[in-house]
């Protein structure tokens, strides 16, 4: 008799709204819907539509005609390798410079001033950087003048309208980007871990190799991916500073050419999808490689 009273009465049916609320769906969750709908309409739908469009070639042929056309003409499929040849070295250089500088700067007093200066090229963007570099690195620009004044060179070196110009512009814009990301990861590492290693007699290189690098691995992989994706999509500087019909004909130029100069949106979407696919493959390879490294807390032993 007593036991019967203690067990709460189980209702026949819980109201649907209550059951949903118990799993996390209530009015507050609904606040998500406008934004989700917006992204669905303007991102997910265009992505699916682009895929559909790319499989319906404008000039007839099978549904893969755009892709076979892309991969059978060296002028188009070489853009993949041109872009990779630019994007991978640029990303690696930016990352390799960023790590030691971030490690040096993290305890500095004027850190904020330096980051403020370095954010400027990121803010100004590639178009302005390209225009500035055309002036600055041109045959009559200050850079060549200083080198000639110092007697390092006798004739101006060709830095713009070439591969070098695009490469340098990607460093001017990409290094600050990498540096900021690496700095934010580096400052997350507990300095006491390093002090402990130093006290046990580890030199700077051993500390880096056995403490910083494993802890930084995942962050470096993410930085690499974000920087690589930016470098891979290079467009304005490849057109303005490079040789857009030759050594710096990157894949974004091929996509733009197909969609906006030949008015073939079907082919343009196909190139854009190939571009996205190559990026995703590289990003997945890097993330896979980084998952083989150490993963764990970066905040010290007590957790």
């Amino acid at each position: 008799m007593q036991n019967m009273v203690l067990t709460p009465p189980v209702p026949e049916r819980v109201r649907l709204s209550q059951r949903l609320a118990r799993r996390g769906f209530d009015v507050t969750t609904l606040l998500l819907l406008p934004a989700l709908l917006f992204v669905m309409v303007l991102f997910v739908y265009p992505a699916i539509y682009g895929l559909w469009l790319s499989l319906h070639p404008m000039n007839g042929g099978g549904w893969l005609a755009n892709y076979t056309a892309f991969f059978s003409d060296p002028y188009t499929y070489d853009t993949i390798f041109t872009t990779l040849k630019l994007a991978i070295p640029v990303t690696l250089v930016n990352l390799l410079i960023s790590v030691p500088i971030a490690l040096r700067v993290r305890h500095m007093r004027y850190q904020r001033m330096l980051t403020t200066i370095l954010i400027i090229p990121v803010t100004l963007g590639t178009v302005l950087t390209a225009q500035g570099m055309l002036n600055y690195l041109g045959p009559l620009g200050w850079f060549n003048r200083v080198l000639m004044l110092l007697g390092i060179i006798h004739d101006p070196v060709r830095l713009v309208h070439d591969f070098t110009g695009v490469f340098l512009s990607q460093i001017v814009g990409g290094f600050p980007f990498c540096f900021m990301l690496v700095l934010s990861y580096v400052t997350g590492i507990d300095p006491s871990l390093e002090s402990a290693a130093a006290m046990l007699g580890a030199g700077p290189f051993a500390r880096f190799r056995h403490i910083i690098l494993p802890l930084l691995g995942a962050g470096l992989a993410i930085t690499f991916c974000l920087a690589f994706v930016q470098a891979f999509a290079v467009f304005p500087s490849a057109v303005l500073l490079g040789a857009p019909s030759g050594p710096t004909r990157v894949i974004a130029i091929a996509a733009f050419h197909a969609a906006y100069e030949e008015y073939d949106y079907s082919m343009g979407s196909a190139v854009a999808i190939i571009m996205g696919a190559v990026q995703i493959i590289v990003v997945m390879l890097v993330m896979k490689a980084s998952s083989l490294l150490y993963r764990g807390p970066v905040a010290g032993g007590k957790g």
Partner: protein, 279 residues
């Protein structure tokens, strides 16, 4: 042995500072070359232009119809600010406060526009906009720029909202605050710093956003950065000083926004998407 280590460490430190110095000198050179050229009369084979004038600004202003272009730029930026606040803030609140099945999937959908570069989805997006008759219009440019801004605001605000104690809201409820009163007197005052920071970053990004505007804009809906691209692309048709004058106007616009933004946010936040929680 100790001596060698000491020397090595010093050389290492020196090398790092030399690189930073070299980078900053070149950066200043790149920017100064544009500014000096825009004020120069004629500049060929010399260190500095022959004379100085402000005439190129007047010329650039009328040649490129910069008044109209600036108006378009600020219309786009303003609409994107408003739109990303209206869509992003409620969504960020919901994501910060609720756990529900499929949340990871929703997060994935929001993160994709931020990691896939604009050029990859810009072309399909532009063709969809043209399909609905919005391609080349101001509305189309605004929608295209709003697309990555909404997830951007969400990812900045989610950690910000998570650190506000939900018990504050619960307490307000206990004392009888309705939803509207709760929003007006508790949530908005607490959220304003975060919303302000996120929107300033959106402003800086929208003014500098080249690709999406470039792919979706038509005549009359181009923002400053796209106009600058076209004039550099067609260099030779206009005097370089005139193009540089426009570049300086662009630079001033985005740097003013940057300076305002830096008063409220940490520079690393502009690059990293979300403020990382400090341990």
């Amino acid at each position: 042995m100790t001596f060698n280590n000491e020397m090595g460490a010093r050389l290492w430190r020196l090398a790092i500072w030399v690189f930073i110095g070299f980078f900053i000198i070149n950066l200043v050179g790149i920017i100064a070359a544009v500014v000096v050229d825009s004020f120069g009369t004629s500049w060929f084979n010399s260190w500095l232009p022959g004379g100085f004038t402000t005439g190129w600004y007047r010329q650039a202003w009328s040649e490129f119809q910069l008044g109209g272009v600036l108006l378009v730029t600020f219309e786009v930026a303003g609409a994107v600010l408003l739109g990303s606040a209206l869509l992003g803030v409620p969504a960020a609140y919901a994501l910060a406060r609720r756990d529900f099945p499929g949340k990871r999937f929703v997060m994935l959908i929001f993160v994709l526009p931020l990691i896939i570069p604009p050029f990859t989805y810009g072309i399909p997006l532009a063709s969809v906009l043209y399909q609905f008759g919005l391609g080349g219009t101001l509305t189309g440019v605004i929608l295209a720029n709003l697309m990555p801004s909404v997830p951007f605001v969400i990812f900045i605000l989610v950690p910000f909202i998570e650190q506000i104690d939900p018990r504050v809201e619960a307490a307000a409820r206990v004392f009888g605050a309705g939803t509207w009163a709760l929003l007006r007197t508790v949530m908005v005052p607490l959220l304003v710093p975060g919303i302000l920071a996120a929107l300033l970053l959106v402003l800086v990004r929208t003014i500098g956003m080249f690709e999406l505007t470039f792919l979706t804009a038509g005549p009359g809906s181009q923002t400053l950065v796209v106009e600058l691209y076209y004039s550099v692309f067609a260099a030779g048709m206009r005097a370089s000083q005139s193009i540089d004058a426009m570049a300086v106007i662009y630079m001033a616009t985005s740097l003013i926004c940057l300076v305002i933004a830096l008063r409220f946010v940490d520079p690393t936040q502009i690059v990293g998407r979300a403020k990382r929680t400090t341990h």
